[in-house]
């Protein structure tokens, strides 16, 4: 059982994530003196972050705050984001604003697959981040990151417009750290589409079919209900070094943000 443990699907953007977490973009030696690329990077990232068109896409309560953010008081146009595109083909950023239900999840994954690279996902609010107060329900997905990779999480229920803008600024920062030489979307080989989840008796991810089958058809099915694997019952505290790394990154970030 342990050997067939579900793989973690969150690592699709691991590469980008690592880049940020370690806070050190590894520039190969032969590129160190490449003024061309770094300047190009600057222009490339500046232009991308200054006109990041969000998908016109509201799910629930948070969408109201998203609209308020786009309206007169907070005015998303200041960030070049007022052009909300209804078509995923024309948008760079998906703001998942609200509760993701199981019935809606296939549609969201499809829309995400239709977005052109480079694409970003911002999980707005508690529900999109981790299921929120409705997590315990039978038809709510506990966090959109179960299906698609998320770049920025904005907690809050609902996040105030300021909190959302802060999340967007964090996203800008992330964009600024990317380099044209390392970004995945210019690499060879197609970026695999994410398999669309299927609505069965309950929603299921095609990537997890193997483990589901083991539970429903295998020996475990004989026992009542899905077996609870003991190994997972133990709380899994965060690794100390991970904690330290995050704190360091946060401290560094704060130091940058706050002029002494």
């Amino acid at each position: 059982m342990e050997s067939t443990m579900v793989t973690d699907f969150k690592d699709i953007k691991q590469e980008q994530m690592q880049e940020f977490l370690h806070d050190s973009i590894q520039v190969p030696d032969d590129l160190q003196s490449n003024v061309m690329v770094t300047t190009l990077d600057k222009v490339y990232n500046w232009s991308r972050k200054s006109s990041m068109w969000p998908l016109l896409f509201g799910l629930a309560c948070c969408a109201i705050e998203m609209i308020a953010t786009a309206a007169s008081r907070y005015d998303l146009a200041r960030f070049g984001m007022e052009v909300m595109r209804p078509s995923p083909r024309q948008s760079d950023l998906m703001i998942v604003s609200g509760t993701v239900t199981k019935k809606m999840a296939p549609a969201i994954v499809r829309i995400y697959n239709q977005m052109a690279e480079p694409r970003y996902v911002l999980a707005m609010g508690a529900c999109a981040t981790g299921g929120g107060p409705f997590k315990e329900g039978y038809s709510v997905v506990s966090g959109i990151d179960k299906y698609i990779p998320v770049d920025v999480y904005v907690p809050g229920c609902p996040p105030t417009p300021e909190a959302l803008i802060y999340g967007l600024l964090k996203l800008h920062e992330k964009v600024e750290r990317q380099s044209i030489t390392t970004v995945p979307w210019y690499r060879k080989g197609a970026n695999e589409a994410i398999p669309v989840p299927v609505l069965g008796p309950d929603i299921f991810d095609p990537r997890k079919v193997q483990i589901i089958k083991e539970q429903t058809l295998g020996a475990a099915a004989a026992a009542k209900g899905p077996a609870v694997s003991k190994a997972r019952l133990q709380p899994q505290p965060m690794a100390e070094d991970a904690k330290a790394r995050i704190r360091a990154a946060q401290a560094k970030y704060r130091a940058q943000k706050q002029p002494a």
């Binding site: 994530m17 005015d75 997590k135 920025v152 909190a163 802060y166 999340g167 992330k174 965060m238 991970a242």
Partner: protein
């Protein structure tokens, strides 16, 4: 006439445009009336209700003045007056929490006896619904709502599960955010303390009087001359009760004594625990000072 409605509507938009345009051309636009200008060019905007239209708050540079009752995510208070967490791990916040996103591990001493202090305190921010029930129902004023909304992160685990360390803020920070409520609470706490003292005094007096009376009663009973007001059984029961009470009191006293001796020992040799505590306090203070300074600046106070 066809088209008058359209023209009228366009007139409204034109008026909007000219109003804001002329105002923006002024050196100090009237829309900044009532806002606070900070040293670094940033502003705190508090639009007065009499101000026409709606101001655009240019967020990272300009911020809205948050009302005192603004609530976002809970925070735990570190009582700087006594140098301890206010939280007693009573668990009421975990019980009233509608999405059940609070986990508390009660601390215990070496013998495994639970003590009134949380060892761990987790809040899953990705579930918290900012309802502020925890703050409303906390009987010790230990958990309050933070105003900090700049919480966006790149990774959900583990950043969005706040542990005790991340949640704890010193009292001063709370006092800066919630000045009115803090003052009310302080007044109430002072009153409560006074009342408790008075009650204790009264209890002591009553106990003394009782003891006197009892002694007298015993003496009387010993005399056997006066007719006993209570039967022997009743007296026995009362005695047993008194003994139980005294024992309970003794226990409490012993506890208090332990605390006192602990305090007495501290100055002699500052043990590791106290040092850690002090260090933690310093750390918290420093953190809070940073935050509070920023907040103050924004609050214009």
């Amino acid at each position: 006439m066809f088209g008058t409605g359209l023209l009228k509507g366009l007139g409204v938009t034109l008026k909007h445009f000219t109003d804001t345009f002329t105002d923006d051309r002024r050196k100090e636009p009237s829309r900044y009336e009532g806002s606070i200008k900070l040293d670094d060019g940033r502003r705190i905007i508090d639009q007065p209700i009499t101000q026409e239209g709606l101001l655009t708050i240019q967020y990272p540079e300009e911020r809205r003045l948050l009302p005192e009752r603004f609530r976002y995510i809970p925070m735990l208070l570190w009582d700087t007056e006594i140098g301890e967490d206010r939280c007693t791990a009573c668990g009421i916040c975990a019980k009233v929490c509608p999405p059940q996103c609070i986990w508390i591990v009660r601390d215990s001493d070496e013998n495994g006896k639970p003590i009134t202090r949380p060892a761990e305190f987790y809040i899953d921010v990705a579930v918290c619904m900012s309802c502020s029930f925890c703050a409303e129902f906390c009987p010790f004023d230990a958990i309050k709502m933070n105003h900090d909304y700049e919480l966006a992160v790149y990774d959900r685990y583990p950043q969005l599960v706040y542990d005790k360390e991340e949640l704890t803020v010193p009292l001063e920070y709370y006092a800066a955010l919630w000045p009115t409520q803090f003052a009310e609470e302080q007044a109430h706490r002072a009153k409560e303390k006074e009342e408790e003292l008075r009650r204790n005094e009264e209890k002591k007096r009553a106990a003394a009087a009782k003891a006197q009376a009892k002694a007298a009663g015993v003496a009387e009973a010993g005399d056997g001359a006066a007719k006993p007001k209570r039967s022997k059984e009743e007296l026995d029961a009362l005695k047993a009760q008194a003994a139980a009470k005294a024992a309970a009191k003794k226990e409490g006293g012993a506890d208090a004594g332990a605390v006192e001796t602990g305090n007495a020992e501290a100055p002699v040799a500052e043990d590791a625990e106290a040092a850690a505590k002090r260090a933690r306090l310093e750390e918290l203070k420093r953190k809070a000072a940073e935050k509070a300074a920023q907040r103050k600046k924004e609050g214009g106070a």
